[in-house]
Symmetry: C2
Subunit: 303 residues, 2 copies
């Protein structure tokens, strides 16, 4: 049996007339007669009563008509759904994020993606940089977000945003009275750095920047992410260099100050990473959304 048989059968059952059904199917009458005969023979069931006025369904035929319509509808639905899945409009996207990613452009980006592709289920996984790369290779995630990514030959990178740095400082610190702090002035303040874990990372960036500014920071504490870092600033552990977007974190007793006399290469970037060999339409759809996102809202990211 064949889907063609079902199509033909339904047509004949609906027209109750082989000739008209054949016309509707754009074939001639004899092949249709034969296909119906074949179908009956294969099932071993008489589906139609041949009358001089046309074809009338038997009881078994009535039943088969229901089933055939059912099957045809299911086939149509299956192709439709599969095609949507093939266009990245339906399915599941696993995304790797890092600890404090929630402060950044990521939520806005994910929201934009969900609006465009409401039937794609986005699943977030909190993973370190190394874990993200591992997970990408094992296909456990499709995209990851991270900073300071070294190029790899099987992993593609797409920069999402760039931000400058601010210093988080206790409000009652003398330096905090200045609206802008010169970079070198941080020299004698104990510094909180993050993240612990996989290197190179934001921590190395900070240390490097201090180096180019001519001093070595006195590290008071290493913490896991920006949130903890700013919390420790509030507790008086020292100052902490954070990306601009961390201003979302409003801790009592902590203020953010812009820096002057900053070294070159002062910006940190947020990028998303993915398998270069991944042809998945979901990935394509996501990267497209990232590109559009960069075009439509670059401004808010530099605030």
């Amino acid at each position: 049996m064949d889907l063609r048989h079902l199509r033909y059968f339904v047509a004949v059952a609906e027209e109750e007339n082989i000739g008209r059904a054949a016309a509707r199917l754009h074939i001639s009458q004899p092949p249709l007669t034969r296909q119906i005969q074949q179908l009956e023979e294969e099932l071993g069931v008489t589906l139609f009563i041949r009358t001089p006025r046309g074809m009338a369904l038997t009881q078994a035929g009535e039943l088969f008509l229901e089933e055939a319509r059912n099957i045809r509808a299911l086939v149509e639905q299956a192709t439709e759904r599969t095609q949507r899945a093939g266009q990245g409009k339906l399915g599941r996207l696993d995304v790797g994020i890092f600890g404090s990613a929630i402060l950044d452009a990521i939520p806005k980006l994910l929201l934009a993606f969900r609006n465009r592709y409401p039937d794609v289920k986005v699943v977030l996984h909190t993973l370190t940089k190394a874990e993200q790369i591992e997970a990408l290779r094992q296909r456990r995630i499709t995209v990851g977000f991270n900073r300071m990514l070294a190029p790899l030959d099987d992993i593609g990178v797409c920069q999402v945003s760039t931000e400058g740095l601010l210093v988080a400082i206790q409000a009652d610190d003398p330096l905090a009275r200045q609206p802008v702090i010169r970079f070198a002035e941080l020299q004698h303040h104990p510094m909180i750095v993050f993240p612990t874990g996989a290197r190179p990372s934001f921590i190395d960036k900070v240390i490097g920047l201090c180096g180019t500014a001519g001093f070595q920071p006195s590290i008071s504490q290493e913490v896991g992410d920006a949130v903890t870092g700013v919390a420790l600033v509030a507790s008086g552990f020292g100052v902490c260099l954070v990306p601009e977007s961390a201003t979302t974190l409003q801790f009592p007793g902590v203020v953010y100050r812009a820096l002057a006399d900053t070294p070159p290469n002062f910006f940190v970037d947020l990028s998303c990473i993915y398998r270069k060999d991944d042809q998945s339409p979901l990935l394509g759809a996501f990267l497209e959304t990232v590109e559009d996102f960069k075009k439509t809202c670059p401004a808010p990211l530099r605030v």
Copy 2:
């Protein structure tokens, strides 16, 4: 698209290897490759990622696999159900019966049929003889039960049972003292006859029998069926000739007596009628059951 495509797709998805799938399908590898390519092209969706180790499903492929299995199961179920319907094991049988048919072999017969074909829904319609023939011609019923059927060229007849007659008589009637009553002795008793409605019928049989016995019955009342007839006997309206099976009706004050000196052609038959041109397997199954019924229980009908 084709059911073959689905079968092939499922095989490849399950084996994750075209060669093994081809072996399982008893075809060679290249046609299978082509069929999968065709399927992908027709859907416009990449279903598999070709790896050097074999074929891996894409997300869209995973989804399509579910759908394909679903469809294949539905097709299998549809053929199975249709075949059962085609063998008369599934469906609906509309049966025409007459008023007092409930007294007769019909309940036993219908019970036997339901035991054999539990998935056939039997629907009873109370119809007069003429209505039954009309309903058969319009296919509103598939079989009918009746007595005294004149042959018709489009209606087939199959005799179910034959019974003799008894007389229903008031218990305090002098005649009722005799264990057996001679037919001619009924001559001066008023007689209740049935049914009203379409002729020729049981009523004509009774009048005819009286004629051959040499008298004309004095008809006290015409009623619709045997039940009413016996009820009127209880009320003193007269005697009533009934088929043996009417002894099921036990009215207070009414006894049944056998008849002696009966005319020839004293028996009444119960037959079922059907369209001669009806090839329905349900009808075949029913008539078969009737035949078996006649074979297995002829005795109880003559009690």
